[in-house]
Amino acid sequence: MHLLELKKITRIIGNCVANNNISMHIVRGEVHAILGENGAGKSTLMKIIYGEHRSDPGGEIFLNGVKTDIASPAHAIELGIGMVYQHFRLIRPFTVLQNIILGIEPKNIFGLIDYKKARADIKKIIDTYGFDVDLDQKIEDATVGTQQRVEIIKTLYRNAEIIILDEPTAVLTPQEILDFYRIIKNLKGQGKTIIIVTHKLHEIKTIADRCTILRKGEYISTLDVSVTSEEELARVMVGRNVNLKVSKTPPTLDGEIVFEIKNVTVFGNKNTPVVKDFSLSLKRGEITGLAGIDGNGQSELVQAITGLRKIKTGSVLINKMNITNLTPKEIYQNKLGSIPEDRQRVGLVMDFKIKENFVLQTIDDKPFSNYGFILNRELTNFSNQLIERFDIRPTDSELEASKLSGGNQQKVILAREIFHNPDVLIAFQPTRGLDVGAIEYIHSELIKLRDQGKAVLLISYELDEIINLSDNIAVIHDGKLWAELDQEKIKKSTSLKEDLGLFMAGGRPV
């Protein structure tokens, strides 16, 4: 008898089959990973387990061998199932303690909240599983790692036996990820059952016992992680062989400097400096990685470079030409391309067609328009060309950008920027939320660009991505250039990842 068994789960959303006849089981006390590309139906399946969705008729869920109809998240919690979403659902001005007890506050005889009892109960949980949290800290002051721990404690406080974690490490720093692994091991040691939704392969190798792979809404197989390689996992997930290691030749060393950021200071929304006296130069034919934890001035830096935010002091030069505080259009015309951090809100007009998104910056130029009138045929021709070259699917240029998958949306942006033939490309989180196939593609395009002698600035919160792609690595912390590693140093380093992690957190190696 299994702890949790799913039989023939099907869920059709609109015209899309999110889950098709999925049967699988979870064993008590295991860490079970759910692996699949975007749109494989992982989240839908988890929401069905958590009672947020229901299976279409025919699907059944058995809990401890008993057929159970999970009607709502509240019901799931009652049954001992807890869920930690990728985007936390916490009340920011409340303290950690208040967030944990919210909704099931213990009350004293006067009907007031019994904080003493709550504190004692939570203390017990914290000690049992080795959490590191300050119960009186406000969520808005807490790190992302702490917030995640609070979410996990919340499920434990509600006596969860099965804890579902959706993309738990997507937002964590390397150090926080290690702590997260430790907590998962403790939970498992105390007999809890963990389900982790992820598409990070090494994470599965590190913590999971078994791994169920979904593809396009269908169950593919369940593998024993200890005897399966990362390559094998990737192959089963994508359905073809995948090149996990980015292959690239060493860069030409004598690349001249094409892009310089000189002592730039930028103010944030609160009118305080968030980028502080930052300098960095990029060479032709190299990818420079800028590592850093989310919120250390990366967004503001990129906005300032691309003309969306004012540079208070300092200057930015491209090909020796000063582009400080020019308009976005002028900067673009000076051969600076960029893939923005938020592809859906900044990179694309989601309600526009693919072909319209291709010419967002260049609609005024020939051949796309003439005397202010759009030449639709030229637009379509051009779009079809790009769609073919960058293998964008579906291939219909009349489709709205919102109808595309994340990977294809990113390809639209990439195609647009690359076709403009920039000397410098700023790629901000270019693969966030994309699946393995799309990541592979974007990475290979960035390398291609580098090999054509362009300079690429790769800004990413994913340390693995930075390490895999970059020829040079810089670290930003608190808006300052915290560390710079050239090729020599990277090659020599024996503990590159740990060192970078330390830099990102504002430390210095001993």
Partner: protein, 360 residues
């Protein structure tokens, strides 16, 4: 297509709500709707009245829809209408040129004045971040009192009246105005019953201007780079800014065009129907009705054309249930309100459409 279905369903539901209200007031809804139907279409002159009524609604509807496509909510069509009407009344009175010059010139002046007035809100938003809803509401009142003030300019005011002098005949866009009352015209019309009835109201060229505006707005939005950028700003200001579009200038330009369209509504109204302006105690509602027109027409130029006619017909025929059935004509207002209410909650329709698809 989906938007069209939603509008149609909302209209049906609105009529049902109106029917319920009528029933509650003790009047047979069927009878009332029959009176309205006959009151709208049974005589040629009813049709021309509906066209006359619809003309300003189509133009103010276009005005609101155009701004909306740029992501701006122009509540100020009312004020821009007043500015347009006031300017047309003034120059139509003080200038007296050949009609072929006079009419376009006066219309142009009215349009420009209203464009400036609307653009002011766009500028305030772009430059100082003043929300356009606030600024246009205030500018509506400023327009109202400015107009009331201008009416009292000596020489412009009609002696001892609370109105202005009439515009010169050279400014009039009423069709065959003199001929209609000439001997020859009267004689011809008496032999042609349909036209006699049709020409009785002040039929004017405003509707052709409105149709032309529909076409121009459609071309701007769908065929020009200017419209492309306006729409981009409307859909996503962040993406537009990133793509190098100057969102501030686009906002101002959009409000200028929006204002121009509302001003044109005011101008055609003065030049074709009222021939002068009078002191207003409150807003007449042409601009506010434009919001309803734009919503029902789902902000599409052609949609606005039809919803303008629909609302014009509804308002005109609604008066008739008061006279013949003693039913409250406010029911029409409730109906329009209900229609907009239903349009504003599309989730209901998504639900309905979904269950239709499941059980066809």
């Amino acid at each position: 297509m989906k938007k069209f279905i939603i509008s149609m369903l909302s209209i049906v539901l609105g009529l049902i709500v109106g029917g319920v209200i009528l029933k509650l007031s003790g009047i047979s809804p069927l009878e009332a709707y029959q009176v309205m139907w006959e009151g709208a279409f049974s005589q040629p002159n009813y049709i021309s009245y509906i066209i006359i009524r619809s003309t300003p609604l189509i133009l103010t509807g276009l005005s609101v829809a155009f701004a909306f496509r740029t992501g701006l909510f122009n509540i100020g069509a009312e004020g821009q209408f007043i500015i347009g009407a006031m300017t047309a009344a003034y120059f139509g009175f003080v200038l007296n040129l050949n009609p072929w010059i006079q009419i376009p010139l006066v219309m142009l002046m009215a349009t420009l004045a209203a464009a400036f007035y609307g653009g002011l809100s766009g500028f305030l938003k772009a430059r100082f971040g003043v929300h356009e809803v606030l600024s246009t509401i205030m500018l509506n009142w400023i327009a109202l009192y400015l107009s009331n003030h201008v009416i009292f300019i000596e020489g412009f005011r009609r002696p001892s009246m609370e109105t202005t002098e009439f515009i010169n005949p050279s400014t009039s866009i009423t069709i065959l105005e003199d001929w209609k009352i000439s001997d020859m015209g009267l004689e011809w019309l008496s032999r042609h019953e349909f036209w006699q009835s049709f020409m009785r109201p002040p039929v004017n060229a405003g509707i052709f201007i409105a149709l032309l505006a529909v076409v121009i707005v459609w071309i701007i939005l769908n065929k020009t780079t200017f419209g492309f950028k306006l729409k981009a700003v409307g859909f996503s200001p962040l993406a537009s800014e990133y793509a190098g579009i100057n969102t501030r200038i686009k906002m101002t330009q959009s409000m200028m065009i929006s204002g121009a369209l509302a001003g044109l509504a005011g101008a055609t109204h003065v030049m074709g129907v009222s021939k002068n302006i009078a002191v207003l105690a409150a807003h007449e509602g042409y601009g506010f009705d434009g919001i309803a027109v734009a919503l029902i027409g789902s902000n599409h130029p052609v949609g606005v054309l039809f919803s303008g006619f629909f609302l014009g017909a509804l308002k005109y025929s609604g008066q008739k249930i008061q006279s013949s059935l003693e039913a409250p004509s406010e029911v029409i207002g409730i109906m329009i309100g209900a229609i907009i209410f239903f349009i504003a909650i599309p989730s209901i329709f998504n639900f309905v459409l979904k269950s239709w698809r499941k059980n066809p």
